[in-house]
Amino acid sequence: MIVLPMAVPFIVLVLAAVVAMLGLRKTAVWVWFLALAVLVYVLQGHITDPLKIAL
């Protein structure tokens, strides 16, 4: 399974915000969809982190 850096969803979100400010509304929404997908993918690798720290 490919491990994505945690910064990737942030970078995609920055891209979405910049694209929005440049006037590309629909593109910004699609880039947000991509960011959301990446975020959920990154999340599954950290879902039990608090338990790992404690146990």
Partner: protein
């Protein structure tokens, strides 16, 4: 877009910028690094902020509110997950508390309020009459938008420094990219 809807969207965007600003203050001034789940919640705040920013920048659209609500639901689910994990006896907590609650507990409340606020704004039907193509952003809208971009960029750089190019440590103790 009505003046009321415009003002409330700008207010929501400012609120999210303030939340991320406080988180940044805790990270930089108090040296408390965000955990991976905390970072996911920050990204969800950015997603919700993007929804309000789109409304401020282009005028109101149902899809913009959708962006805010879905982001808040994802962030809320992650915050709830973290709260529930720390409820387990012996698991302790992560980070210090603010006004008696940990940041992930505040985040859960904030995400719930964001989703509720965005849903409530959808009741102002007059805001959709103009359509997004006719909307011209004000100078204030431009300033708010670029402020949001700046905060998003700051979070991206900070996360890259903290986690590096691999998986983020479960319990980060320093900035991975700044280690000698």
């Amino acid at each position: 877009m009505t003046a009321l809807a415009r003002a409330l969207n700008a207010l929501a965007l400012l609120g999210i910028c303030a939340v991320l600003g406080v988180a940044f203050y805790w990270q930089l001034a108090r040296g408390e690094l965000p955990c991976p789940l905390c970072l996911v919640q920050r990204a969800a705040f950015l997603g919700a902020g993007l929804g309000f920013m789109l409304n401020v920048r282009f005028g109101s659209s149902e899809s913009h509110y959708g962006v805010a609500i879905v982001s808040a639901l994802v962030g809320g689910a992650v915050a709830a997950r973290q709260v529930l994990l720390h409820v387990v006896p012996g698991t302790g907590s992560y980070g210090s508390a603010l006004l008696g609650w940990h940041f992930y507990t505040w985040a859960l409340v904030a995400f719930f309020l964001i989703a509720l606020f965005a849903a409530a704004l959808l009741f102002i039907e007059a805001q959709f009459a103009e359509g997004v193509s006719d909307w011209r952003p004000t100078v204030l809208a431009q300033v708010l938008g670029w402020l949001f971009v700046l905060i998003a960029l700051g979070n991206a750089v900070s996360t890259l420094l903290e986690c590096g190019f691999g998986p983020c440590p479960d319990n980060p103790t320093g900035y991975e990219l700044l280690r000698k």
